[in-house]
């Protein structure tokens, strides 16, 4: 049995998978990964089922060391500097850590959460069918809490399969799409227009339960007290202070503030990755359009394996190397294993 030892890891990092739907009637939220596409991509790269348990890594850095044998992993989601023993490695690419080697990850840039897919998954005891950490409910395995320095994740030994990269659609900066309801009639047409026409920012006081937004005051018609009713991932509720809260996978299953709208399923991961403080907008679409987008999103997930590519020398991820250089890291592109390129200059070209 191989394992990943975690010498250091930032807050808001935890084991996550597809979550545990089915007990919302008792107040148990489904939870699970905050960016399903990134989770699925990381798992696809190492040959796992799409929603196998992986490490959801928050905005800060982390280190993972293979012990007891080689461990094959893949990083997807928010870009960040990553290196194994000083050599830069790319996102959306699988890699194998030899016994004793350490993968070092920097801060997330242009996103908030990355996923470390682990070949063979994480060993643990499922609760309600899931390993996903829901710290408030005391659920999750092997640790029912966010990961900490010193934690160990048991996994399968690396298979020795050839390393792959995955071609994902380009990240979109388009507005986050919503469908109005169920309580949009608690707001005037002018207020709804203000909601759509304004720039919003995600507050730093956000977590897996909800993202707090900063922007104009959203005024209720009849006050902010409603009789609590059910919520969904992406519900946008407006409390008394007029600042929206977008409910995330560890949300409450019900809430007593009017919900003006909900983020469409296909955009939830993209929304979750907007860094705190960056301006974005919402766009309202019809139910028909939203459900069509969900079908497209499902199709993208289903066809992820078709997007796997062999790694060839010129595939060495230019962005990763460039980012590493920008961050002031000394990049050693000499690598006997995966890479076949002598120096970054060979990749980056004459310009």
């Amino acid at each position: 049995m191989s394992k990943l030892v975690i010498p250091s890891i930032g807050p808001a990092s935890s084991v996550q998978d597809g979550g545990r739907p089915g007990a919302q009637r008792y107040g148990l939220t489904p939870g699970g990964a905050i960016d399903r596409l990134a989770l699925a991509a990381a798992n696809t790269l190492v040959g796992n089922d799409l929603f196998t348990a992986a490490v959801e890594i928050g905005p800060f850095g982390a280190k993972f060391t293979a012990r007891g044998g080689a461990v094959r992993v893949a990083l997807s989601g928010a870009p960040r500097n990553a290196d194994i023993a000083g050599r830069a490695v790319a996102s959306d690419t699988s890699m194998t850590l030899a016994d004793g080697e350490t993968l070092t990850l920097g801060f997330a840039r242009g996103g908030s959460f990355s996923y470390l897919g682990i070949e063979g998954g994480v060993q643990g005891e499922p609760m309600f069918g899931s390993l996903a950490v829901n710290a408030r409910a005391g659920l999750g395995s092997p640790y029912p809490r966010p990961l900490q320095a010193g934690d160990e994740l048991q996994t399968a030994p690396a298979s020795g399969a050839a390393e792959r990269r995955i071609d994902l659609p380009a990240t979109s900066e388009a507005p986050i799409r919503i469908v109005f309801g169920p309580q949009d009639d608690e707001f005037t047409a002018e207020t709804k227009k203000l909601f759509l026409d304004s720039e919003w920012k995600i507050s730093a006081t956000s977590d897996r339960m909800g993202y707090r937004l900063e922007g104009p005051f959203i005024q209720h018609i009849d006050g902010h007290n409603i009789v609590s009713d059910g919520t969904v991932n992406g519900s946008i509720q407006i409390p008394g202070n007029g600042q929206p809260i977008v409910l995330m996978p560890d949300r409450g299953t019900s809430g007593g503030y009017p919900k003006i709208a909900a983020v469409i399923s296909a955009d939830l991961g993209r929304f979750a990755q907007i860094p705190a403080g960056r301006a974005f907008r919402f766009k309202a679409i019809s139910m028909t359009e939203a459900q069509a987008e969900l079908r497209k999103f499902r199709e993208l997930l289903r066809t992820l394996p078709d997007r796997l590519r062999d790694i060839e020398s010129f595939d060495l991820n230019i962005e990763a190397l460039h980012d590493a250089n920008v961050a002031g890291h000394a990049v050693s592109a000499v690598d006997a294993g995966t890479w076949h390129v002598a120096s970054p200059a060979d990749i980056l070209g004459p310009d």
Binding site: P21, G22, A23, Q24, R25, Y26, G27, L28, T29, M127, R136, A137, G138, L139, V179, F180, G181, P182, Q183, T205, M209, G223, H224, N225, I226, V227, S228, D229, G230, T231, V232, N233, G234, S235, P239, G240, N241, G252, T253, S254, G255, G256, Y257, K259, A262, V263, I264, S265, M287, A290, Q291, E293, L294, R295, R298
Partner: protein
């Protein structure tokens, strides 16, 4: 054959759920219809429906839009919701111990001031209530109770607290509640109970069911501590008075 009941409102909740709303208010008739629709759907599952969440005034129906569309599901829900409802099942009655005020209920004094009375009077009013579990939601085991005296009803806090203690007994709007886990809340905190309405590795994991009747019994801080230890060891602490 009884006449069909009035149609509920169908409200979109994102692209994968419909809120079937019977009332906008706390309303026992609406809650009975919510639970009846929930039972009907459990008895004859609709293809594509993945999960139902009863709340006081509405049933949230989660579904897979790839299997069934909003309009088609909505029609089926409307038809089901207008059928005459079956008689209510038998109800259980629980007595739940509460330590009021002080560090266990940090808003008791403020609530008394806001309602122009004394903390003891607030406790007396709260203990006098005969409550029903209207729904369980928000966080595991968080039980929303109906039956709060009008003299205790007040708006929720303008700014929700990010963290309130496990076992909190609070009031918000026209409702009162038993909160199981520590977490955010916009309600006013009156006291704390040792009862765990949700506890892993205990049978049952979830103690209360929608429809259960509840009364509160004041206890002192020392009793609370003893009960808290017993509850930690897996005891219910709540007393089942009748079923």
């Amino acid at each position: 054959m009884a006449a069909p009941l009035s149609p509920p409102r169908l409200l979109p909740s994102g692209d994968s759920a419909i809120t079937v709303e019977f009332s906008r208010n706390i309303d026992d008739d609406a809650n009975r219809r919510v639970l009846a629709l929930d039972r009907a759907m459990a008895g004859a599952p609709i293809t594509g429906v993945t999960e139902t969440v009863p709340t006081y005034r509405s049933l949230l129906v989660h579904y897979d839009p790839v299997q069934i569309g909003f309009a088609e599901l909505g029609e089926q829900l409307l038809a089901l919701a207008q059928q005459p409802i079956s008689a209510a099942a038998k109800t259980r009655r629980w007595r739940i111990p509460v330590v009021y005020g002080g560090e266990h209920g940090i808003d008791l004094e403020d609530v008394a001031k806001a309602l122009d009375t004394t903390p003891d009077d607030i406790v007396a009013r709260h203990v006098a209530g005969d409550y029903r579990v209207a729904m369980i939601g928000f966080t595991p085991g968080w039980s929303y109770l109906s039956g709060l005296a009008p003299s205790l009803q007040m708006p929720r806090r303008q700014n929700p607290r990010l963290l309130t203690p496990a076992g909190t007994i609070s009031i918000g709007g026209v409702q009162t509640g038993v909160q199981c886990l520590a977490g955010p809340s916009g309600w006013h905190l009156l006291g704390q109970t040792a009862v765990r309405t949700y506890q892993l590795h205990r049978e049952p994991t979830f103690l209360l069911e929608p429809g259960d009747q509840i009364t509160f019994t004041p206890v002192d801080a020392k009793t609370f501590k003893e009960q808290d230890r017993a509850a930690e060891a897996g005891e219910f602490v709540a007393e089942l008075v009748a079923s």
